[in-house]
Amino acid sequence: MKMIAMLRRVWPTSLFLLLLIPAFAWAGSIAGQRFGAADEIVLTFGAAPEQTTATNPQNYSVHEEADPDIRLAVSAASLGSDGRSVTLKFAAPLNTLKPHVVAVTGQGGESIRVAKSYLGYLFGILVSALLINNFVFTKYLGLCVFFGTSKRKDTAKGMGFTFLIVMVVSAIMSWFFYQFILKPFQLNFLQIVVFIGLVSLTVQAVDTVLRKVNPVLFNSFGVYLVLVIANCVILAVPLILANNEYNFFETVMLAVGAGGGFMLALYLMASVRERLELANVPRSFRGVPIAFIVAGQFALAFLGFSGLSIF
């Protein structure tokens, strides 16, 4: 039963994946659409439209697909030099992550959907969790474990890898519990208890499985497993995906991005701290204090990713 329910939830998404990218050429006279700058939508007409109707902002009505009631104000419409493309300017920047619907009233009530490709959107979540909103350097989560295990590169790799596995497994389980148990039975107030319980369970399960299946790997990674529970990131990801109502694919992407971002941060930090061991640091700053200042510099560097937008 659960499988069927899950399939039912997932199939529109997979269908969407098949439809992919901008090939929604079903609309009659509008041949193409895309987002321009942050506050622009560019429409391309099949035949050259009449100038006065095409450049009248009153002739367009735009809304986000999820909220048809909220009309977005078109401040200006201008015709491109080829005579066929119209650029709609908006008063406020658009949320380009969400699909928008543009209705052209002058063309017999025709409407068209403007959206980024779904794969690009998924990839965007991954890159955002990995770099732009890196959980360690821009959200300041998981710092205890971050400073505790970033002394050597080997340790950092082990911890990062263990963390990535636990992260993905527990995020998928949390998504499942949230969508099919917490939400239908209105148990949202139990979020924290359920999510942290699932994390502990995952850690215990990975511990048991790894001990039997691959004792060598267990010997090198086993010690980090307990530390995973004390990491805020592991709980932040389920809370975020519950808050944003992510679907299955988005959840996996967020989990991989968060785990990968943590691994990246640990490895970068460990590389610097290995060199710091040899450096002549003032005595009162040796150890943790200088590590904090280095982390601050990394955070400054990661601030540079903030304007990054892909797709």
């Binding site: 350097f137 821009t138 959200k139 300041y140 989560l141 998981g142 710092l143 205890c144 474990v145 400073f147 107030f189 139990l190 979020q191 924290i192 208890v193 942290i196 319980g197 502990s200 369970l201 215990q204 307990v226 529970i229 004390a230 990491n231 805020c232 592991i234 709980l235 932040a236 809370l239 975020i240 003032p282 005595r283 009162s284 700053f285 943790v288 204090p289 200088i290 590590a291 904090f292 200042i293 982390a295 601050g296 955070a299 400054l300 601030l303």
Partner: protein, 206 residues
Amino acid sequence: MATDKSSMQLITNGILNENPIFRLVLSMCPAVGISTTVMNGFMLGIAVLFVQVFSSLTIAIFKNVIHPRIRIPTYTLTIATWVTVIDMVLAAYLPEAYAKMGIFIKLIVAFAIITMRLEMFASKETVSASFFDGIGMGLGFMAGMMAIGFVRELLGLGSLLGYDLLGFKPMLFFVLPLAGFFCVGLMMGFFNYIETRYKSAKRAQA
């Protein structure tokens, strides 16, 4: 096994000798993330104090019933329960402060300091000793958060507790979230410096 320390010693131990933020270097996420003002530190400090005291009490009462093999999950679930309580109370009665804390109230579950105190102290000591240890640790956390908030608010905004003191903003940089790293690092270095000076002065006396 009962500790021979008095209740007052247990409390000052948490605030000074084993300060969760500056000495044990645990629960750093909030110390960096939301310590921009004294008030933020105070609010989160209250939440942590509540959770720490009640979790310590719960574990100290039930310590003989908990099977050692499953003690860590038990601790986690106990903390999660108390965090849910404080989360809902704050959301209902102090919605503005709650909005400022964001996700950090819920993340108290994963603060290493609370689990560590349960494991190291409450699971071995008497109920009353655990109670005072919980108060000490909670106050220590609050004091650490407020100290960081004090420095950042004074240097960044030129104000304290929202009251404009200096009339200008000396170093706006310190209000930036990422300045938390620099601020904590510099303060730790400063405290270490004082400690080494204090010790060498003591040695010179002896």
